[in-house]
Protein backbone atom coordinates (compact mmCIF):
# COMPACT_ATOMS: atom_id res chain seq x y z
CA UNK A 1 0.00 0.00 0.00
CA UNK A 2 1.35 3.47 -0.87
CA UNK A 3 2.04 5.81 2.02
CA UNK A 4 -0.60 8.27 0.79
CA UNK A 5 -2.64 10.55 2.98
CA UNK A 6 -4.65 7.95 4.92
CA UNK A 7 -7.17 9.38 7.33
CA UNK A 8 -6.06 7.79 10.62
CA UNK A 9 -9.57 7.75 12.08
CA UNK A 10 -12.10 8.22 9.31
CA UNK A 11 -15.61 9.29 10.29
CA UNK A 12 -17.61 6.08 9.73
CA UNK A 13 -20.79 8.03 8.99
CA UNK A 14 -19.25 9.75 5.99
CA UNK A 15 -18.62 8.25 2.57
CA UNK A 16 -15.01 7.12 2.20
CA UNK A 17 -12.97 9.61 0.19
CA UNK A 18 -9.60 7.99 0.77
CA UNK A 19 -7.68 5.62 -1.51
CA UNK A 20 -9.46 2.74 -3.14
CA UNK A 21 -8.42 -0.65 -4.45
CA UNK A 22 -9.77 -2.82 -7.19
CA UNK A 23 -12.23 -5.36 -5.77
CA UNK A 24 -14.22 -7.68 -8.01
CA UNK A 25 -17.41 -8.44 -6.07
CA UNK A 26 -19.05 -10.57 -8.77
CA UNK A 27 -15.88 -12.64 -9.18
CA UNK A 28 -15.62 -13.07 -5.41
CA UNK A 29 -19.27 -14.13 -5.14
CA UNK A 30 -18.88 -16.57 -8.04
CA UNK A 31 -15.75 -18.14 -6.59
CA UNK A 32 -17.43 -18.32 -3.16
CA UNK A 33 -20.47 -20.08 -4.66
CA UNK A 34 -18.37 -22.58 -6.60
CA UNK A 35 -16.12 -23.26 -3.60
CA UNK A 36 -19.05 -23.77 -1.23
CA UNK A 37 -20.85 -26.01 -3.73
CA UNK A 38 -17.77 -28.21 -4.15
CA UNK A 39 -17.17 -28.34 -0.39
CA UNK A 40 -20.81 -29.27 0.29
CA UNK A 41 -20.82 -31.99 -2.38
CA UNK A 42 -17.58 -33.36 -0.92
CA UNK A 43 -19.00 -33.45 2.62
CA UNK A 44 -22.22 -35.02 1.37
CA UNK A 45 -20.31 -37.67 -0.55
CA UNK A 46 -17.99 -38.43 2.38
CA UNK A 47 -20.42 -38.38 5.28
CA UNK A 48 -23.96 -38.62 3.89
CA UNK A 49 -26.73 -37.72 6.36
CA UNK A 50 -28.42 -39.47 9.28
CA UNK A 51 -31.78 -41.14 8.87
CA UNK A 52 -32.81 -43.09 11.95
CA UNK A 53 -36.18 -44.70 11.25
CA UNK A 54 -39.14 -43.19 13.07
CA UNK A 55 -40.72 -45.11 15.93
CA UNK A 56 -44.21 -46.46 15.36
CA UNK A 57 -46.79 -47.24 18.00
CA UNK A 58 -46.60 -50.83 16.71
CA UNK A 59 -42.89 -50.94 17.44
CA UNK A 60 -43.44 -49.44 20.90
CA UNK A 61 -46.18 -51.93 21.76
CA UNK A 62 -44.02 -54.86 20.62
CA UNK A 63 -40.75 -53.76 22.24
CA UNK A 64 -42.19 -52.39 25.46
CA UNK A 65 -45.73 -53.72 26.02
CA UNK A 66 -45.74 -52.89 29.73
CA UNK A 67 -44.80 -49.28 29.12
CA UNK A 68 -47.37 -49.09 26.31
CA UNK A 69 -50.16 -50.42 28.53
CA UNK A 70 -49.17 -48.22 31.51
CA UNK A 71 -49.36 -45.21 29.22
CA UNK A 72 -52.74 -46.26 27.80
CA UNK A 73 -54.17 -46.75 31.29
CA UNK A 74 -52.88 -43.34 32.39
CA UNK A 75 -54.65 -41.76 29.39
CA UNK A 76 -57.93 -43.39 30.50
CA UNK A 77 -57.20 -42.38 34.07
CA UNK A 78 -56.43 -38.75 33.39
CA UNK A 79 -52.98 -39.05 34.97
CA UNK A 80 -50.90 -39.07 31.75
CA UNK A 81 -48.58 -36.28 30.61
CA UNK A 82 -51.15 -34.95 28.13
CA UNK A 83 -54.06 -35.28 30.55
CA UNK A 84 -52.25 -33.22 33.21
CA UNK A 85 -50.48 -30.90 30.74
CA UNK A 86 -53.02 -28.10 30.68
CA UNK A 87 -52.98 -25.55 27.84
CA UNK A 88 -52.82 -25.81 24.89
CA UNK A 89 -54.16 -29.40 25.05
CA UNK A 90 -56.32 -29.89 28.14
CA UNK A 91 -58.26 -27.89 30.70
CA UNK A 92 -56.36 -28.29 33.98
CA UNK A 93 -56.76 -25.58 36.60
CA UNK A 94 -53.45 -23.91 37.42
CA UNK A 95 -51.44 -25.94 34.89
CA UNK A 96 -49.01 -24.20 32.57
CA UNK A 97 -45.50 -22.90 33.21
CA UNK A 98 -44.86 -19.55 34.88
CA UNK A 99 -42.28 -17.11 33.62
CA UNK A 100 -42.17 -15.12 36.85
CA UNK A 101 -44.41 -15.39 39.89
CA UNK A 102 -47.86 -16.34 38.62
CA UNK A 103 -47.44 -14.92 35.10
CA UNK A 104 -48.06 -17.57 32.46
CA UNK A 105 -48.50 -16.84 28.75
CA UNK A 106 -49.40 -20.49 28.32
CA UNK A 107 -52.36 -20.21 30.71
CA UNK A 108 -53.42 -16.86 29.32
CA UNK A 109 -53.76 -18.25 25.80
CA UNK A 110 -55.72 -21.26 26.98
CA UNK A 111 -56.63 -24.50 25.22
CA UNK A 112 -56.15 -23.99 21.47
CA UNK A 113 -55.46 -27.64 20.48
CA UNK A 114 -58.10 -29.49 22.52
CA UNK A 115 -57.56 -33.19 23.15
CA UNK A 116 -59.58 -35.61 25.27
CA UNK A 117 -56.84 -38.16 26.08
CA UNK A 118 -59.14 -41.04 27.06
CA UNK A 119 -61.20 -40.70 23.87
CA UNK A 120 -58.33 -39.77 21.53
CA UNK A 121 -55.85 -42.46 22.54
CA UNK A 122 -57.99 -45.38 23.76
CA UNK A 123 -61.76 -45.28 23.40
CA UNK A 124 -62.15 -43.85 19.87
CA UNK A 125 -59.46 -46.12 18.34
CA UNK A 126 -61.04 -49.16 20.06
CA UNK A 127 -64.43 -48.28 18.59
CA UNK A 128 -63.09 -49.40 15.19
CA UNK A 129 -62.43 -53.10 15.96
CA UNK A 130 -65.45 -53.00 18.31
CA UNK A 131 -67.71 -52.88 15.27
CA UNK A 132 -66.75 -56.46 14.44
CA UNK A 133 -65.80 -57.78 17.89
CA UNK A 134 -68.89 -58.12 20.16
CA UNK A 135 -66.76 -58.86 23.26
CA UNK A 136 -64.88 -55.60 22.79
CA UNK A 137 -68.06 -53.68 22.02
CA UNK A 138 -69.57 -54.92 25.31
CA UNK A 139 -66.43 -54.05 27.28
CA UNK A 140 -66.43 -50.53 25.81
CA UNK A 141 -70.10 -50.04 26.65
CA UNK A 142 -69.55 -51.25 30.22
CA UNK A 143 -66.62 -48.87 30.70
CA UNK A 144 -68.26 -45.83 29.12
CA UNK A 145 -71.50 -46.22 31.09
CA UNK A 146 -69.84 -46.84 34.45
CA UNK A 147 -69.65 -44.01 36.99
CA UNK A 148 -66.37 -42.08 37.10
CA UNK A 149 -65.42 -43.53 40.50
CA UNK A 150 -65.84 -47.09 39.18
CA UNK A 151 -63.76 -46.29 36.10
CA UNK A 152 -60.99 -44.96 38.38
CA UNK A 153 -61.12 -48.06 40.57
CA UNK A 154 -60.62 -50.30 37.51
CA UNK A 155 -57.80 -48.21 36.02
CA UNK A 156 -55.97 -47.88 39.35
CA UNK A 157 -56.16 -51.62 39.92
CA UNK A 158 -54.91 -52.38 36.42
CA UNK A 159 -52.09 -49.84 36.67
CA UNK A 160 -51.02 -51.37 40.00
CA UNK A 161 -51.05 -54.86 38.46
CA UNK A 162 -48.92 -53.62 35.55
CA UNK A 163 -46.45 -52.06 37.98
CA UNK A 164 -46.14 -55.38 39.84
CA UNK A 165 -45.33 -57.11 36.55
CA UNK A 166 -47.63 -60.14 36.50
CA UNK A 167 -50.84 -58.59 35.23
CA UNK A 168 -52.15 -61.72 33.44
CA UNK A 169 -51.89 -63.79 36.62
CA UNK A 170 -53.49 -61.10 38.76
CA UNK A 171 -56.41 -60.65 36.34
CA UNK A 172 -57.05 -64.41 36.35
CA UNK A 173 -57.09 -64.49 40.16
CA UNK A 174 -59.34 -61.46 40.71
CA UNK A 175 -61.14 -60.58 37.45
CA UNK A 176 -63.86 -58.47 39.11
CA UNK A 177 -61.23 -56.02 40.37
CA UNK A 178 -60.40 -54.95 36.85
CA UNK A 179 -63.81 -54.87 35.17
CA UNK A 180 -63.59 -54.41 31.37
CA UNK A 181 -59.97 -53.14 31.52
CA UNK A 182 -58.27 -56.45 30.61
CA UNK A 183 -60.40 -56.77 27.46
CA UNK A 184 -59.91 -53.11 26.50
CA UNK A 185 -56.15 -53.18 27.09
CA UNK A 186 -55.72 -56.58 25.47
CA UNK A 187 -57.51 -55.42 22.33
CA UNK A 188 -55.62 -52.10 22.33
CA UNK A 189 -52.30 -53.93 22.58
CA UNK A 190 -53.26 -56.23 19.71
CA UNK A 191 -54.45 -53.28 17.64
CA UNK A 192 -51.20 -51.43 18.35
CA UNK A 193 -48.99 -54.40 17.47
CA UNK A 194 -50.84 -54.88 14.19
CA UNK A 195 -50.23 -51.26 13.14
CA UNK A 196 -53.90 -50.40 13.32
CA UNK A 197 -53.45 -47.92 16.17
CA UNK A 198 -50.83 -45.94 14.18
CA UNK A 199 -53.41 -45.44 11.48
CA UNK A 200 -56.26 -44.70 13.88
CA UNK A 201 -54.26 -42.01 15.69
CA UNK A 202 -53.61 -40.09 12.48
CA UNK A 203 -56.95 -40.47 10.77
CA UNK A 204 -59.85 -38.09 11.24
CA UNK A 205 -63.19 -37.81 9.49
CA UNK A 206 -61.38 -36.29 6.49
CA UNK A 207 -59.50 -38.23 3.84
CA UNK A 208 -56.20 -36.33 3.65
CA UNK A 209 -54.01 -36.19 6.76
CA UNK A 210 -50.97 -34.08 7.54
CA UNK A 211 -51.24 -33.69 11.32
CA UNK A 212 -49.48 -36.11 13.65
CA UNK A 213 -50.28 -34.34 16.94
CA UNK A 214 -52.24 -37.19 18.53
CA UNK A 215 -49.79 -39.92 17.55
CA UNK A 216 -46.75 -37.96 18.73
CA UNK A 217 -48.37 -36.87 22.00
CA UNK A 218 -49.27 -40.50 22.75
CA UNK A 219 -45.74 -41.69 21.92
CA UNK A 220 -44.15 -39.01 24.09
CA UNK A 221 -46.42 -39.87 27.03
CA UNK A 222 -44.63 -43.23 27.20
CA UNK A 223 -40.98 -43.92 28.07
CA UNK A 224 -39.97 -45.85 24.96
CA UNK A 225 -39.28 -42.84 22.72
CA UNK A 226 -37.33 -41.20 25.53
CA UNK A 227 -35.25 -44.34 26.16
CA UNK A 228 -34.14 -44.32 22.51
CA UNK A 229 -33.35 -40.60 22.68
CA UNK A 230 -31.25 -41.07 25.81
CA UNK A 231 -29.05 -43.58 23.99
CA UNK A 232 -28.35 -40.90 21.37
CA UNK A 233 -27.64 -38.16 23.97
CA UNK A 234 -30.71 -36.21 22.88
CA UNK A 235 -32.28 -35.57 26.27
CA UNK A 236 -32.55 -32.00 27.56
CA UNK A 237 -30.26 -32.93 30.45
CA UNK A 238 -27.65 -34.18 27.97
CA UNK A 239 -27.37 -30.89 26.06
CA UNK A 240 -29.64 -32.73 23.62
CA UNK A 241 -30.80 -29.66 21.75
CA UNK A 242 -27.32 -29.33 20.21
CA UNK A 243 -26.95 -32.97 19.27
CA UNK A 244 -27.69 -35.21 16.33
CA UNK A 245 -28.02 -38.99 16.14
CA UNK A 246 -24.81 -40.94 15.64
CA UNK A 247 -21.62 -38.92 15.22
CA UNK A 248 -23.06 -36.23 12.99
CA UNK A 249 -22.59 -32.60 13.96
CA UNK A 250 -25.80 -31.16 15.28
CA UNK A 251 -26.85 -27.62 16.00
CA UNK A 252 -23.84 -26.05 17.71
CA UNK A 253 -25.53 -22.65 17.37
CA UNK A 254 -28.07 -23.69 20.02
CA UNK A 255 -25.38 -23.97 22.72
CA UNK A 256 -26.58 -20.98 24.73
CA UNK A 257 -30.22 -22.08 24.62
CA UNK A 258 -29.50 -25.61 25.90
CA UNK A 259 -26.84 -24.43 28.41
CA UNK A 260 -29.44 -23.04 30.83
CA UNK A 261 -31.14 -26.43 31.17
CA UNK A 262 -27.91 -27.92 32.57
CA UNK A 263 -27.48 -25.56 35.54
CA UNK A 264 -29.52 -24.82 38.66
CA UNK A 265 -32.08 -23.48 39.26
CA UNK A 266 -33.38 -24.38 35.79
CA UNK A 267 -32.16 -27.98 35.86
CA UNK A 268 -34.68 -28.76 38.62
CA UNK A 269 -37.39 -26.18 37.90
CA UNK A 270 -40.92 -27.08 36.78
CA UNK A 271 -41.01 -23.77 34.93
CA UNK A 272 -37.65 -24.18 33.17
CA UNK A 273 -39.05 -23.95 29.64
CA UNK A 274 -40.92 -20.69 30.27
CA UNK A 275 -38.05 -19.13 32.22
CA UNK A 276 -35.41 -20.06 29.66
CA UNK A 277 -37.58 -18.85 26.79
CA UNK A 278 -37.89 -15.51 28.57
CA UNK A 279 -34.13 -15.31 29.13
CA UNK A 280 -33.38 -16.18 25.51
CA UNK A 281 -35.95 -13.67 24.25
CA UNK A 282 -34.19 -10.94 26.23
CA UNK A 283 -30.73 -12.07 25.09
CA UNK A 284 -31.88 -12.29 21.46
CA UNK A 285 -33.22 -8.75 21.64
CA UNK A 286 -29.93 -7.66 23.20
CA UNK A 287 -28.05 -9.38 20.37
CA UNK A 288 -30.05 -7.44 17.77
CA UNK A 289 -29.50 -4.21 19.75
CA UNK A 290 -25.74 -4.61 20.44
CA UNK A 291 -24.97 -1.24 18.79
CA UNK A 292 -26.99 0.48 21.53
CA UNK A 293 -25.71 -1.39 24.58
CA UNK A 294 -22.91 0.42 26.40
CA UNK A 295 -20.17 -1.90 27.54
CA UNK A 296 -20.97 -4.61 25.01
CA UNK A 297 -20.46 -2.25 22.06
CA UNK A 298 -17.13 -1.19 23.62
CA UNK A 299 -15.71 -4.73 23.60
CA UNK A 300 -14.20 -4.45 20.08
CA UNK A 301 -12.06 -1.53 21.27
CA UNK A 302 -11.01 -3.39 24.43
CA UNK A 303 -10.21 -6.67 22.65
CA UNK A 304 -8.28 -5.26 19.69
CA UNK A 305 -8.80 -7.98 17.10
CA UNK A 306 -9.34 -5.05 14.70
CA UNK A 307 -5.62 -4.26 14.84
CA UNK A 308 -4.95 -7.57 13.12
CA UNK A 309 -7.76 -7.20 10.58
CA UNK A 310 -6.65 -3.71 9.48
CA UNK A 311 -2.90 -4.03 10.17
CA UNK A 312 -1.90 -3.10 6.61
CA UNK A 313 -4.04 0.02 6.75
CA UNK A 314 -2.63 1.17 10.12
CA UNK A 315 0.91 0.58 8.85
CA UNK A 316 0.26 2.66 5.73
CA UNK A 317 -1.58 5.37 7.65
CA UNK A 318 1.32 5.84 10.05
CA UNK A 319 3.63 6.28 7.06
CA UNK A 320 5.57 3.05 7.61
Amino acid sequence: MNAVAYPRHADPALEWTGPKRRYDLVKEATIALVAVTLLTVLLAALFSSPDVKPVTVAQWASASPNDFLSTAVSELDGTSGVATYGPPYTHVAGAGQNILGGVSIERALGVQLPIDPARAFVLDPLSIPARTTPLLARALAVYEHAPRAQQHAWTHAFAAALAKGNVVERVRRQPRLYGPLPVLMGELLAMARSGGLDGALVSTDRFYQTNFTKALLFLSDGSYLESLAEREHLLGSQWGMMNETGNYPGQAWLWLYTFWYQIPPFSTSDNADAQIWAIMAVLSLAFVCVPFIPGVRAIPRLVPVYRLIWRDYYRAASGR
Binding site: H9, A13, K20, T40, E106, L254, W277, P291
Partner: protein, 196 residues
Protein backbone atom coordinates in the same frame (compact mmCIF):
# COMPACT_ATOMS: atom_id res chain seq x y z
CA UNK B 1 -44.61 18.89 -17.25
CA UNK B 2 -47.23 16.47 -15.96
CA UNK B 3 -47.23 15.24 -12.33
CA UNK B 4 -44.60 12.52 -11.59
CA UNK B 5 -45.86 8.94 -11.82
CA UNK B 6 -45.50 6.43 -8.96
CA UNK B 7 -43.14 4.47 -11.18
CA UNK B 8 -41.04 7.57 -11.78
CA UNK B 9 -40.88 8.32 -8.09
CA UNK B 10 -39.85 4.76 -7.19
CA UNK B 11 -37.19 4.83 -9.91
CA UNK B 12 -35.83 8.18 -8.74
CA UNK B 13 -35.65 7.07 -5.12
CA UNK B 14 -34.07 3.77 -6.06
CA UNK B 15 -31.42 5.43 -8.21
CA UNK B 16 -30.73 8.04 -5.52
CA UNK B 17 -30.16 5.35 -2.90
CA UNK B 18 -28.40 2.91 -5.20
CA UNK B 19 -26.70 4.49 -8.20
CA UNK B 20 -25.15 1.69 -10.28
CA UNK B 21 -21.60 2.47 -9.11
CA UNK B 22 -22.74 2.04 -5.51
CA UNK B 23 -24.83 -1.05 -6.16
CA UNK B 24 -22.06 -2.88 -8.06
CA UNK B 25 -18.77 -1.10 -7.41
CA UNK B 26 -15.55 -2.57 -8.78
CA UNK B 27 -13.46 -0.83 -6.18
CA UNK B 28 -13.50 -0.87 -2.41
CA UNK B 29 -11.79 1.36 0.16
CA UNK B 30 -8.13 0.45 0.47
CA UNK B 31 -8.66 -0.91 3.99
CA UNK B 32 -10.71 -3.84 2.66
CA UNK B 33 -7.82 -6.25 2.72
CA UNK B 34 -8.52 -9.26 4.91
CA UNK B 35 -9.88 -12.75 4.34
CA UNK B 36 -12.52 -12.03 6.99
CA UNK B 37 -14.32 -9.97 4.36
CA UNK B 38 -15.14 -13.00 2.21
CA UNK B 39 -17.28 -14.70 4.84
CA UNK B 40 -20.40 -12.74 3.94
CA UNK B 41 -20.11 -14.03 0.37
CA UNK B 42 -19.43 -17.57 1.64
CA UNK B 43 -22.55 -17.40 3.81
CA UNK B 44 -24.58 -16.25 0.81
CA UNK B 45 -23.09 -19.03 -1.31
CA UNK B 46 -24.06 -21.61 1.30
CA UNK B 47 -27.58 -20.17 1.45
CA UNK B 48 -27.92 -20.59 -2.31
CA UNK B 49 -26.70 -24.21 -2.09
CA UNK B 50 -29.29 -24.88 0.63
CA UNK B 51 -32.05 -23.31 -1.48
CA UNK B 52 -31.06 -25.22 -4.61
CA UNK B 53 -30.78 -28.60 -2.87
CA UNK B 54 -34.08 -27.91 -1.11
CA UNK B 55 -35.66 -27.20 -4.49
CA UNK B 56 -34.39 -30.54 -5.83
CA UNK B 57 -35.86 -32.35 -2.83
CA UNK B 58 -39.13 -30.47 -3.35
CA UNK B 59 -39.28 -31.82 -6.92
CA UNK B 60 -39.84 -35.35 -5.64
CA UNK B 61 -41.46 -34.61 -2.29
CA UNK B 62 -40.40 -34.89 1.35
CA UNK B 63 -40.38 -38.70 1.50
CA UNK B 64 -38.09 -39.18 -1.52
CA UNK B 65 -34.78 -39.20 0.32
CA UNK B 66 -35.72 -42.18 2.50
CA UNK B 67 -36.00 -44.57 -0.44
CA UNK B 68 -33.65 -43.16 -3.09
CA UNK B 69 -29.86 -42.89 -2.94
CA UNK B 70 -30.00 -39.81 -5.20
CA UNK B 71 -32.55 -38.35 -2.79
CA UNK B 72 -30.32 -39.20 0.15
CA UNK B 73 -27.39 -37.48 -1.63
CA UNK B 74 -29.39 -34.27 -2.11
CA UNK B 75 -30.59 -34.43 1.48
CA UNK B 76 -26.94 -34.69 2.51
CA UNK B 77 -26.10 -31.62 0.41
CA UNK B 78 -29.00 -29.82 2.07
CA UNK B 79 -27.76 -30.80 5.56
CA UNK B 80 -24.06 -30.03 5.02
CA UNK B 81 -25.01 -26.83 3.19
CA UNK B 82 -26.92 -25.80 6.31
CA UNK B 83 -23.95 -26.68 8.56
CA UNK B 84 -21.67 -24.58 6.33
CA UNK B 85 -24.26 -21.75 6.22
CA UNK B 86 -24.18 -21.44 10.01
CA UNK B 87 -20.40 -22.00 10.11
CA UNK B 88 -19.69 -19.12 7.72
CA UNK B 89 -22.40 -16.91 9.20
CA UNK B 90 -20.96 -17.19 12.71
CA UNK B 91 -17.39 -16.48 11.53
CA UNK B 92 -18.81 -13.49 9.59
CA UNK B 93 -20.63 -12.40 12.78
CA UNK B 94 -17.46 -12.66 14.89
CA UNK B 95 -15.57 -10.59 12.33
CA UNK B 96 -18.25 -7.91 12.18
CA UNK B 97 -18.48 -7.75 15.97
CA UNK B 98 -14.74 -7.22 16.44
CA UNK B 99 -14.82 -4.60 13.69
CA UNK B 100 -17.68 -2.83 15.51
CA UNK B 101 -19.28 -2.79 12.08
CA UNK B 102 -22.43 -1.04 13.35
CA UNK B 103 -20.61 2.32 13.48
CA UNK B 104 -21.55 5.20 11.20
CA UNK B 105 -25.32 4.67 10.88
CA UNK B 106 -24.88 0.95 10.26
CA UNK B 107 -26.95 -0.25 13.25
CA UNK B 108 -29.68 -1.49 10.89
CA UNK B 109 -27.11 -3.50 8.95
CA UNK B 110 -26.14 -5.21 12.21
CA UNK B 111 -29.79 -5.66 13.18
CA UNK B 112 -30.83 -7.26 9.87
CA UNK B 113 -27.86 -9.60 10.13
CA UNK B 114 -28.76 -10.56 13.71
CA UNK B 115 -32.42 -11.13 12.85
CA UNK B 116 -31.34 -13.22 9.82
CA UNK B 117 -29.38 -15.42 12.21
CA UNK B 118 -32.40 -15.91 14.47
CA UNK B 119 -34.83 -16.57 11.60
CA UNK B 120 -32.31 -19.00 10.06
CA UNK B 121 -32.37 -20.95 13.32
CA UNK B 122 -36.15 -21.20 13.05
CA UNK B 123 -35.82 -22.30 9.41
CA UNK B 124 -33.33 -25.03 10.28
CA UNK B 125 -35.56 -26.08 13.19
CA UNK B 126 -38.58 -26.60 10.93
CA UNK B 127 -36.31 -28.51 8.57
CA UNK B 128 -35.36 -30.93 11.33
CA UNK B 129 -39.05 -31.31 12.17
CA UNK B 130 -39.99 -32.29 8.62
CA UNK B 131 -37.39 -35.00 8.02
CA UNK B 132 -40.00 -37.69 8.75
CA UNK B 133 -37.66 -39.79 10.89
CA UNK B 134 -36.85 -40.43 14.57
CA UNK B 135 -35.07 -37.08 14.83
CA UNK B 136 -38.26 -35.26 13.77
CA UNK B 137 -40.33 -37.18 16.30
CA UNK B 138 -37.99 -36.46 19.18
CA UNK B 139 -37.33 -32.81 18.29
CA UNK B 140 -41.08 -32.19 17.97
CA UNK B 141 -41.83 -33.96 21.24
CA UNK B 142 -39.21 -31.87 23.06
CA UNK B 143 -39.68 -28.52 21.37
CA UNK B 144 -43.42 -28.50 21.97
CA UNK B 145 -42.82 -27.93 25.71
CA UNK B 146 -40.63 -24.90 25.21
CA UNK B 147 -42.95 -23.39 22.60
CA UNK B 148 -46.07 -24.14 24.63
CA UNK B 149 -44.51 -22.49 27.69
CA UNK B 150 -43.95 -19.36 25.61
CA UNK B 151 -47.50 -19.44 24.28
CA UNK B 152 -46.29 -19.98 20.73
CA UNK B 153 -47.18 -23.68 20.64
CA UNK B 154 -50.87 -22.93 20.59
CA UNK B 155 -50.52 -21.47 17.08
CA UNK B 156 -47.26 -22.96 15.84
CA UNK B 157 -47.85 -26.67 16.35
CA UNK B 158 -44.56 -28.51 15.86
CA UNK B 159 -46.43 -31.83 15.74
CA UNK B 160 -48.50 -30.68 12.76
CA UNK B 161 -46.37 -31.92 9.88
CA UNK B 162 -48.22 -30.11 7.13
CA UNK B 163 -47.95 -26.77 8.92
CA UNK B 164 -44.25 -27.21 9.68
CA UNK B 165 -43.43 -28.27 6.11
CA UNK B 166 -45.06 -25.16 4.65
CA UNK B 167 -43.29 -22.91 7.16
CA UNK B 168 -40.01 -24.59 6.26
CA UNK B 169 -40.37 -24.54 2.48
CA UNK B 170 -42.33 -21.30 1.93
CA UNK B 171 -42.57 -18.81 4.76
CA UNK B 172 -39.24 -18.98 6.54
CA UNK B 173 -36.91 -19.19 3.49
CA UNK B 174 -38.76 -16.20 2.05
CA UNK B 175 -38.20 -14.32 5.31
CA UNK B 176 -34.50 -15.24 5.35
CA UNK B 177 -34.10 -14.25 1.69
CA UNK B 178 -35.75 -10.87 2.28
CA UNK B 179 -33.63 -10.23 5.37
CA UNK B 180 -30.39 -11.19 3.59
CA UNK B 181 -31.39 -9.06 0.59
CA UNK B 182 -32.08 -6.08 2.82
CA UNK B 183 -28.84 -6.68 4.71
CA UNK B 184 -26.77 -6.70 1.51
CA UNK B 185 -28.50 -3.56 0.17
CA UNK B 186 -27.70 -1.80 3.44
CA UNK B 187 -24.04 -2.79 3.15
CA UNK B 188 -23.99 -1.35 -0.38
CA UNK B 189 -25.83 1.79 0.76
CA UNK B 190 -23.48 2.68 3.60
CA UNK B 191 -20.32 1.07 2.32
CA UNK B 192 -17.97 -1.15 4.31
CA UNK B 193 -17.22 0.32 7.75
CA UNK B 194 -13.81 2.03 8.08
CA UNK B 195 -11.17 0.99 10.62
CA UNK B 196 -11.61 1.78 14.30
Amino acid sequence: MSAPTWTGRVRARGLAAFPPERLLPDTQPAYVGSWIYVFGALTLGAFLVVLASGAVIALAGPAWWHTSSAGRFFNSIHLWGTELFFFFMVVHLWGKFFMAAWRGRRALTWATGAVSFLVSIATAFTGYLTQQNFDSQWIGAQAKDGLNAAGIGAFFNVLNYGQMLLWHVVLLPLAVALLIGGHILLVRRRGVVPPL
